[in-house]
């Protein structure tokens, strides 16, 4: 590389770094505005993916509360699916989004391709307004919107910030299972399974066959509770594996308002959680449950796996053992069938 090119590259890099810093400072300012004064703070509404909520949003809120010394009485968390227990004691109140919007409305938002809340939308503002009206909070309310977290941590996801940056601005802790009732009797011992189609685990025939083999192998040893809720509130669709004598399904049995709380309860009681790498697979270790997230394409997972491995170890969470199926499928092998745990794929 010539000297000129080197200087151009250096200038470009410095420019990029300045943009990153400017964005960080802007977020910091917005964050300070959101927590200033004595008015109640609505944290949310959280409508994005479960995985980001568990791995980043809740720990980020916990850090905000500690860093800005916000009493829990000021904070009102707004999320969906009954996730109150995930927030522990950082907020005094929990507002259920499904009390203010129908699941169809949320699904329509997810279906329109707006999954991550990088901006405050009119729909978010409406939800906050409806919640404030119900709670009788009036106009004087601060909003701590998830876009702040997305903007704050995006330099890390793009490789421009360090893991230490995430650790400095997020406080991960173990999660306690909620005391909700599960609308059916659970076996005394079981494995919780949740597979859904995603970029990391596409819903394709070969992969579906492999997942089926895994579930069969697990069912040989223990009853299986499949967390295929049938609720579609984002761009992911549950992969339903056939029910059997030892495979039970929650399909159609969970209320949208409490579906995540019930799933959390079910996972917390399981001996093992196996599922698509994402969503509740990030939560299970925080509940102390050994977890086996499955994927075939890690392109969008590297940064999250990097954080997860570090965090679960530190909070002494359940064992986190990611299973990448791509190499095995390339080798014509499957996991979990016949004698031994690795065997030949029957094509």
């Amino acid at each position: 590389m010539g000297a000129g090119a080197r200087w151009r590259s250096r200038a470009h890099r410095i420019g990029e770094q300045c943009v990153t810093w400017r964005e960080e400072w802007a977020v910091e300012r917005d964050l300070e505005n959101a927590v200033s004064g004595r008015a109640p703070i609505v944290a949310g509404p959280w409508l994005s993916e479960v995985g980001y909520e568990v791995l980043y949003w809740v720990p980020f809120l916990r850090w905000v509360v500690a860093a800005y010394r916000i009493p829990s009485s000021r904070l009102i968390v707004m999320s969906r699916g009954g996730t109150e227990s995930w927030y522990g004691d950082i907020a005094s109140q929990y507002v259920e989004v499904f009390d203010h919007a129908a699941p169809d409305e949320i699904a329509a938002r997810g279906g329109s391709g707006v999954v991550k809340q990088r901006k405050v939308t009119a729909f978010d503002e409406q939800l906050v307004e409806r919640a404030c009206r119900t709670l009788g909070l009036g106009e004087a309310v601060n909003v701590l919107h998830p876009s702040l977290m997305f903007r704050w941590l995006s330099p890390f996801w793009s490789g421009k910030e360090t893991l230490a940056f995430v650790e400095r601005h997020a406080r991960h802790t173990r999660v306690v299972a909620p005391g909700v009732d599960v609308p059916f009797a659970l076996p005394s011992e079981y494995v919780a399974v949740k597979f859904y189609g995603a970029k990391s685990l596409p819903d394709e025939a070969a992969i579906r066959a492999q997942l089926r083999t895994i579930v069969d192998a697990l069912a040989d040893q223990s009853p299986i509770v499949q967390l295929d809720t049938g609720l579609e509130v984002d761009d992911h669709t549950d992969v339903r594996l056939p029910e059997g004598p030892r495979v039970m399904s929650v399909n159609g049995r969970l209320d949208p308002r409490t579906n995540l709380a019930a799933q959390t309860r079910i996972i917390a009681g399981a001996r093992l959680f196996v599922g698509t790498c994402g969503s509740l697979a990030w939560l299970a270790p925080l509940l102390g449950v050994p977890t086996m997230p499955v994927f075939t394409d890690a392109s969008f997972l590297h940064a999250h796996l990097h954080v997860a491995r570090r965090v679960y170890d530190r909070v002494r969470g359940g064992r986190f053992s990611p299973l990448d199926l791509s190499g095995l499928l390339d080798s014509g092998l499957v996991v979990g069938s016949g004698a031994g745990v690795v065997s030949d794929r029957v094509s």
Binding site: G159, E167, S321, D324, G327, D330
Partner: protein
């Protein structure tokens, strides 16, 4: 003219006076009560003064301590890595100045760090400081000349300078000193450089020691530097496939190499699982095992005897050329399967799909993070992982 009502006026005036007096009385009462309250508060304050003073001091001390810790943290996590970066870059620049040959090495630590960090770092540094391959002499072991293609014009084999047993002894001594990696230029490293230069008839050579790379990237491994930082100071390039190995190989095969270490501890359970894996792969495609009968570091190769379809090249492996031979064998393979570490970091750069097997990823997370990004950027072959712990979790949930 009306006659004034004197009695009424007197009564009115008296009323006014009375109300005023009453108001004054109330004001006095209020003032007195305020003074009383203030006095009481003052008294309370005086009574609590030592406690309040202690609490104030405690708060101030805590604030000072908090600030001190913040400063220390800032120094540790931000300033120290920055200082190290400056120092390393100064050293690289100083050594690159002039026209002396530059010894790149001696590389005496793990294969994985050499493939994943050291060579991309040297490639970046050579480009950054304008050092051509004609000035660079790679000093490494095991016949890894091909890895330095395009960066180093010359290569010196460490095992031509010292016996493998001596090399292993020095490595063990370094680890015992607590220097798992080559953080500093040791006496043994100096001796190797001296032997290399005298062998090549060079009187004066600069050194780019592996410690520079270790110091530079340690902050990344600990999470204090970003991936972007690491990628800015490395230049990943596909490794050129060299000529075919001088050993008889099946026309199509899978290359495999498993060794013990933190990634796959030496346990019976792991041995059984890996044996099963090798057997099943060999039942479909011939397998060429890259195990050696000796070891120059703390890792030991797993060997799988008498599995149909498995060929081992143990008898063809020579310490001086073993890594070169293994590289050639991997380059010709359909797939490479091995312990996550060592040659699994190199295989994708050779264009070979790789399955990296591990049981414990505690020390691998940062490396996997880098590898997957770097391979994607260079258009290398696919690196997938296979977690034995996940299998075990399925096997018995414990």
């Amino acid at each position: 003219m009306r006659v004034p009502n004197v009695p009424r006026a007197v009564i009115n005036l008296a009323g006014v006076r009375l109300r005023r007096a009453e108001r004054h009385w109330r004001t006095a009462e209020r003032v007195l009560s305020r003074v009383g309250r203030q006095a009481r508060r003052q008294q309370e304050r005086l009574a609590q003064a030592p406690f309040l003073a202690r609490a104030g001091i405690r708060r101030s001390c805590a604030a000072i301590e908090r600030s001190r810790k913040r400063m220390v943290r800032f120094d540790d996590h931000v300033m120290a890595p920055y200082r190290i970066e400056r120092r390393v870059k100064r050293t690289l620049r100083r050594e690159a100045a002039g026209s002396r040959p530059i010894i790149v090495g001696p590389w005496t630590s793990e294969v994985g760090y050499e493939a994943l960090y050291w060579i991309p770092f040297v490639t970046w540094a050579a480009d950054r400081y304008g050092v051509g391959p004609d000035r660079v002499i790679a000093l490494s072991r095991g016949g890894t000349e091909a890895w330095y293609h395009g960066v180093a014009g010359r290569y010196v084999e460490i095992f031509d300078l010292v016996e493998p047993a001596e090399f292993a002894r020095q490595g063990a001594a370094r680890r015992e000193r607590g220097d798992q990696k080559q953080m500093v230029l040791s006496e043994f490293d100096r001796e190797l450089v001296r032997l290399a230069t005298s062998r090549m008839g060079i009187r004066d050579a600069a050194i780019w020691h592996p410690g520079l790379m270790y110091q530079m990237f340690r902050a990344f491994w600990y999470g204090d530097r970003s991936l972007d930082f690491l990628l800015r100071h490395t230049d990943f390039r596909r490794v050129q496939r060299s000529e075919s190995p001088a050993v008889l190989l099946p026309p199509e095969y899978v290359a495999m190499k498993f060794y013990t270490g933190p990634a796959i501890p030496n346990t019976d359970a792991n041995h059984t699982l890996l044996h099963d894996l090798v057997r099943r792969v060999a039942a479909r495609t011939p397998v060429v095992m890259l195990d050696t009968s000796w070891s120059v570091d703390e890792h030991r190769d797993y060997s799988f005897e008498q599995i149909p379809g498995v060929t081992t090249l143990r008898s063809s492996m020579d310490p001086k050329t073993n890594l070169g031979l293994q590289t050639q064998v991997i380059a010709g393979a359909r797939q490479f399967i091995g312990t996550c570490g060592g040659l699994t970091w190199l295989a994708p750069l050779l264009g070979v799909d790789t399955l990296a097997v591990y049981e414990d990823d505690r020390y691998l997370t940062a490396h996997l993070y880098v590898a997957k990004h770097a391979y994607r950027r260079t258009g290398s072959a696919r690196l997938s992982t296979f977690n034995l712990k996940a299998l075990r979790a399925m096997e018995r949930f414990s």
